[in-house]
Symmetry: C2
């Protein structure tokens, strides 16, 4: 459902063009992008198209234990990751891919080279430091007794508390609903847990309220309306990963809505 930036459209590529939602696509020459957990609703997604001529790209930006139970080792042909959602370093603009076909990987490297002549070394240094700090929290014996240094547990505790606050505020407002989320077993934490998505996907249930994002805006809450994601405007997306003060202010304002 997520709308991707489309350089192919901008340059009117003779090779590729945006064809809309995979669920309405007909044909067998395609590249399907599967965003799982999905942005904006946090749901687990699988490829919709099944032709052996097509290619599937899995965007696993949010497939980390703080956001969602890790139910299986990811094993798709082309998988995209980013430090942006892993640890919140969006500004570093660094991601990586795990790709099974060496020829495809080579083309991806060539594309990056043509686009930007390679990723900033400053970003690479920062990302290497971040990844080391995260894995040190799990792998260095001298840090094992300090649970605060385990990033995924820290992230999950924080998001879990935020989702609890959000559910209470949504319930007390009586205006909105949230997607149903099932508890499943997480192989990383070993616990059965609910997902804690990075976004809340709110649906305005009040009759006659057509534009959810507009309603929020009038109450000084900035969201991204359903239209941006190809659905009705009675939906709105809210970030769950902003700073504490911002999140608390959001809950405060949400609680005051009638």
């Amino acid at each position: 459902m997520q709308s991707f930036p489309r350089i192919t459209d901008y340059l009117r590529s003779g090779l590729y063009r945006w064809s809309g939602d995979a669920s309405t696509f007909e044909g067998d020459a395609y590249i399907e992008v599967v965003c799982s957990p999905n942005n904006p609703d946090g749901s687990i997604r699988e490829a919709v198209l099944k032709s052996s001529n097509g290619k599937t790209i899995h965007d696993l930006a949010y497939y980390w234990p703080q956001y969602t139970p890790i139910t299986a080792a990811a094993d798709h042909d082309i998988m995209l990751f980013t430090v942006s959602k892993l640890s919140g370093h969006a500004g570093t603009r660094l991601g990586w891919a795990l790709v099974k076909d060496a020829e495809v990987a080579k083309k991806m490297v060539k594309f990056i080279e043509l686009n930007t002549i390679g990723v900033s070394k400053d970003s690479q240094l920062r990302a290497a430091t971040i990844l080391k700090a995260i894995s040190d929290g799990y792998e260095r014996p001298d840090l094992q007794t300090k649970p605060g240094l385990k990033m995924f547990e820290f992230g999950r505790r924080l998001l879990s508390m935020r989702w609890q606050k959000l559910r209470e505020a949504v319930k007390s407002s009586g205006i909105f609903t949230l997607p149903d989320i099932q508890s499943v077993h997480c192989k990383f934490t070993g616990e059965t847990t609910e997902a804690c998505p990075a976004f809340a996907w709110l649906k305005c249930e009040r009759e006659g309220m057509q534009d959810c994002a507009d309603f929020f805006k009038k109450h000084k809450i900035l969201t991204r309306g359903g239209g941006h994601f190809g659905v009705e405007s009675n939906y709105a997306r809210v970030s769950m990963v902003d700073r504490d003060e911002t999140f608390d202010l959001f809950i405060e304002r949400l609680m005051s809505l009638r």
Copy 2:
């Protein structure tokens, strides 16, 4: 003459395609890229095409006082710069543009946004620090008495010494020639100086020696042959801005060629 990476070709753009050297282009719908000082030969270039329908982009990556006399304030419609050649921070992958037409500037920003969702903040922080350090060397009164802190003078002294060594080595070899470089008045330094390009553009003059880059390679000198720049293979480009040890080794090996 410089060969640019061409994302338009890679995506088979319906809008733009590479049409080769501007000097052989016919028509009036074009974007001409003027690299001045030119890579590889360091010469000062002007636009070749003059149609009012065309656009001209000036790549001024090397238009800094350490490389070339600054003869006039640059005042073209679209001018590109980079910290890569200014201070040697190529890995930071940050440049900037001065653009007269606000609509063109907006499109350039949009392109960067679609390509990379913006430049790495790590790079922006590094570049801001670099630019401040350079301007401090000229503008902070307490640093005015320390000539070593004036980056362009430092760069010019270093390059000037290297070019002197290179000219001696080239002369003693009797095999090569270098482009003629005239001394002109530099408005930045106030002196009449020769250019000290970031690359040496060597021509092998020995009869029967067809492949200059290949000849160098046999003597453990890595260059980039004329073919990469659309000219005969009796030309080769050598970097003048590598580390001291590498440059000294290059001169040593060049001196030993017979």
